[in-house]
Assembly symmetry: C2
Homo-oligomer: 556 residues x 2
């Protein structure tokens, strides 16, 4: 059991922070039960592709609010109108062989309100491991700059996430049995989906053969945005890769760095805060294991659990807290946000406000009460949850998908030693990891696959990529840190959390953050201009209107 938990903790550490997917489960369950996936997708296609779906439509259809919807409210406050048409594109399951010629429908969202017409720019969001609506509603950068760039916005959903399902999968089944279908979940296939969609958007769906295309994404989506430019520079003129840890792979970075940054984020508010969290693990273990039913009952009372705590629940509680502290560091945004959870601006500050006391002086009961209150900044900032359901914060049915990706190629080790960070010691052993993947999925992990495909720290062969790396983001540990001016590999250090630069702007934004966003816009504008100058000779009989439109709008 200990082994199993260790694997799961490893899983959450590997999965949780990148897996911005908490709301997609119900949609997925709907898609993967009852009717065949193809039939359902076809029905969805009929139902959705011809109507313009705003987020309000989606809200009306959805059974429960999604983070994206919350965020829409936020966006509205900032006078951004988020509305998009939902479309479906028929893709091959396998882009690289002909042994399997099955097809499926990929969802993409599109907004042409600001597009200046034929051959005008396309901003293309390379969807992450989750429902594309979540990312659409959280990537304010694109909505705020579409007008200035006269750009069409496209948000493409990643295969096997959200509603884009090549095959029916069982999100509860971790087994080699599922590898025959889930085996088509890989970054290469996802990039090829995006490439094919971009090609068709340019050549057949729109009159956009000479359009510049900029890929954008945050987190895993940022990795994909950067990799699109690296692998399909014929289709992609540049990439804005927000908090994209493309170097967070074995041999390229130290697995402790991630949790060191998390710890620093809490220390930054007060050392008592991080030290209180550091002390809490053993206290909770003590209550959960050594004090019998009275200890468990005290834990339940302090954390206000919906169900009485059982012995097995202690590990879950620890796992939940680990995940909360990490997620809170990732999303310690300057403005109120609802990305991974509904939280106030600067949530760590709010959490640490409950952990001011020196933990040496605190009694166990006080410490537990304070930890619980701090964690509620994440679990119950609105005060509307009557009690805590731990499993809501530990299990996500979509985790199984990222677990498959991390077991096959996305091996992104995270570890802790309890000395240089505030977590319990949790080493990362690659051999054990690979063995457990073999058992879970029947796969031979390709540890060097990502480096073979996309390279390492030496980015001299890449060009036209902005790697924005927010300094308080734990994932910045795996982000490129040095620009290469000659190639337009531009590292921008933003003062903030996980891809905060891509989020909607807000009243609390620092001048530095505004400056970073402006620099991103200016750089992309330059790439677009360069693109038009390169294609001019290939577009002899076609009008390239962007430059003149730009002049018009700057005159306005």
């Amino acid at each position: 059991m200990a082994k199993f938990v260790a694997v799961l903790v490893g899983l959450v550490l590997l999965v949780g922070p990148l897996a911005d997917v908490s709301s997609a489960a119900s949609t997925l369950k709907e898609l993967t039960s009852g009717k065949g996936q193809r039939q359902q997708a076809d029905e969805l296609h009929d139902r959705l592709s011809i109507t313009s779906n705003t987020i309000e439509d989606a809200k009306a259809k959805s059974k429960q609010p999604t983070p994206g919807q919350h965020n829409h409210d936020q966006a509205k406050n900032q006078k951004i109108t988020i509305n998009y048409e939902t479309r479906w594109f028929r893709q091959l399951v396998d882009h690289f062989t002909w042994a399997n010629q099955d097809t499926w429908l990929q969802r993409y969202l599109i907004n042409k309100d600001n597009w200046c017409g034929p051959n005008c720019p396309i901003l293309f969001y390379t969807g992450n491991e989750g429902d594309i609506e979540v990312f659409t509603n959280n990537t304010g950068w694109m909505w705020e700059n579409a007008q200035q760039l006269h750009a069409m916005l496209v948000f493409a959903e990643h295969r096997f996430y959200g509603q884009s399902m090549p095959y029916k999968i069982d999100p509860t089944l971790i087994s080699p049995k599922q590898t025959k279908t889930l085996g088509y979940l890989s970054s290469e296939q996802a990039l090829a989906d995006y490439a094919k969609l971009i090609y068709e958007l340019k050549h057949n769906i729109f009159d956009a053969k000479h359009s510049p295309v900029i890929t954008l994404g945050g987190s895993y989506g940022g990795m994909l945005a950067a990799w699109m430019r690296m692998k399909y520079p014929n289709l992609v003129d540049g990439a804005l890769a927000g908090s994209a840890p493309i170097l967070q792979f074995p041999g390229e970075y130290n697995c402790q760095d991630f949790n060191k940054i998390v710890t620093k984020d809490y220390e930054g508010y007060s050392s008592n805060c991080s030290r209180s969290i550091a002390k809490s693990w053993s206290t909770i273990r003590d209550y959960g294991a050594s004090r019998g039913s009275a200890g468990l009952s005290a834990l339940g009372r302090h954390f206000n659990t919906c169900q009485p705590m059982k012995a097995n629940d202690t590990d879950l509680l620890l796992e939940m807290l680990n995940s909360i502290w990490v997620n809170m560091a990732m999303t310690d945004y300057a403005n109120k946000a609802t990305f991974l959870s509904d939280m106030p601006a600067h949530p760590i500050e709010h959490a640490c406000a409950h952990l001011k006391a020196d933990p040496i002086d605190s009694g166990d009961e006080d410490l537990l009460a304070a930890i619980s209150r701090a964690s509620q900044v994440y679990t119950n900032s609105t005060g509307q949850n009557a009690c805590l359901n731990i499993t809501d914060y530990v299990y996500d049915p979509m985790d199984v998908l990222w677990d498959f990706q991390s077991c096959t190629e996305m091996v992104m080790p995270i570890c802790s030693d309890g000395i240089n960070d505030m977590f319990e010691p949790e080493p990362f052993n690659l051999t054990d990891f690979v063995q457990s993947c073999k058992i879970r999925w029947g796969v031979d992990t390709q540890v060097n696959k990502i480096k073979t495909l996309y390279g390492d720290k030496n980015l001299h062969s890449a060009s036209n990529i902005i790697f924005s790396s927010c300094t308080r983001d734990p994932w910045s540990a795996g982000c490129p840190q040095e620009s290469i001016d000659a190639n337009q590999i531009i590292v921008l250090k933003c003062p903030g959390a996980h891809h905060e630069d891509l989020r909607p702007s807000g009243p609390n934004d620092s001048d530095e953050m505004r400056q970073v966003r402006k620099q991103e816009l200016d750089t992309i504008t330059n790439w677009i201009q360069k693109h038009y100058s390169n294609v001019r000779k290939f577009a002899r009989n076609e009008t390239l209107v962007w430059a003149s439109r730009r002049t018009d709008s700057s005159e306005n």
Copy 2:
């Protein structure tokens, strides 16, 4: 039947010139009959990988001489020693999914005689559609420049050709039944094979983590060399792509251009030569179809066929001649060569010497006799063949493999109109082509696949590629024609035939050809120097010896 022949002619036109594979059939048959492929490959591995195999060893084992072996004699005349070790590398059948995790053994040939040691350069030949030994023995450029560059030479065999068989295939079977296995034959998978082999050569097989890698290849191998630099610039520092028609795809070039160049090659010697060939098609059809057994008998006599001509053989004879004129144009080399056939220097000159008369003045019998003599420059220049076996020049069991590639993604149309070229009119109809592929292989041809993957005429996103384009080579119709200096996209027009610049140098080489080869060497030397300057910061504790070795050798 007419339809079937049309398809076959189309096939030969699409396949023949690129398919430098005539000698591989016996090896393949051996591999694909009797024992399982895996077992045989393992046996081969045991037998070959630990011994150093020179071409003489191969000759002793082989049942019949190969073009490469002849060429070795030629190479010896020029004092090049061709010797290599044969090795086997375990590859995945499918690099991009985990639904199929089968593995197979890829053959590669290696020579380290001139390698200056850890982190020194690697020249990597990206194998074409044929036995890798043929290309190894015909790529004199690498052997002649290895010493100057202190480079290791690697020649990697393309999956499904030669002895590198992911699955047992039946080279006589054109059927959708074979697509389940042959479906893993694609350029993307072949590039991924090369990428993985390069990664392992650099990181695990040798101490070469910081080695520059230059890919080289001719024809389809040249396309792969260029595409390796485009798709894996993290692993490949530059490419020498000899006669690589990366633009010979629908929408990027005119399908007539290929045969126009062939025709021009013959016209260049005399217009009577090309006009005689142009007239011969109808004369042969007349003899084969309208003159009964006497006509067929006359054809058999003029062409000295081993078997009496039957009615059906006329189409084969026409197909053979078509193929001969094309192949002779491709390999109209300045020096005696044995690449596609054993031929003297400037074979077209020899052929046209038999076709001096104005065809208007020639009687039919004289024309047939002259055409036969001209064709013997290709089929019997040594005079050792007692008679002509037409099928030897029409059917190659390996054609089936290229047919599969052209039906799936390598759609490279060639056509003729009989007005602007010396061939019978043969239109290319894409719809018909796609339909016939569906019947033959059960595949939906991905007509735009290559452009989606690798781009079009606009090469602004590529860098460090030499496209050598020999002006008399019909495939130059599909080669890039304009350099982009800023990106080191360098188009070199060589005065010669199909990737003649990559062949062993010889006594008849023009000054211009020597100059082109020198420019290739200088450019690659610069790329290597640039690579070392880029990796220096990543190789802090490791010695990069190339520069000092270079100084040593220039002092010698």
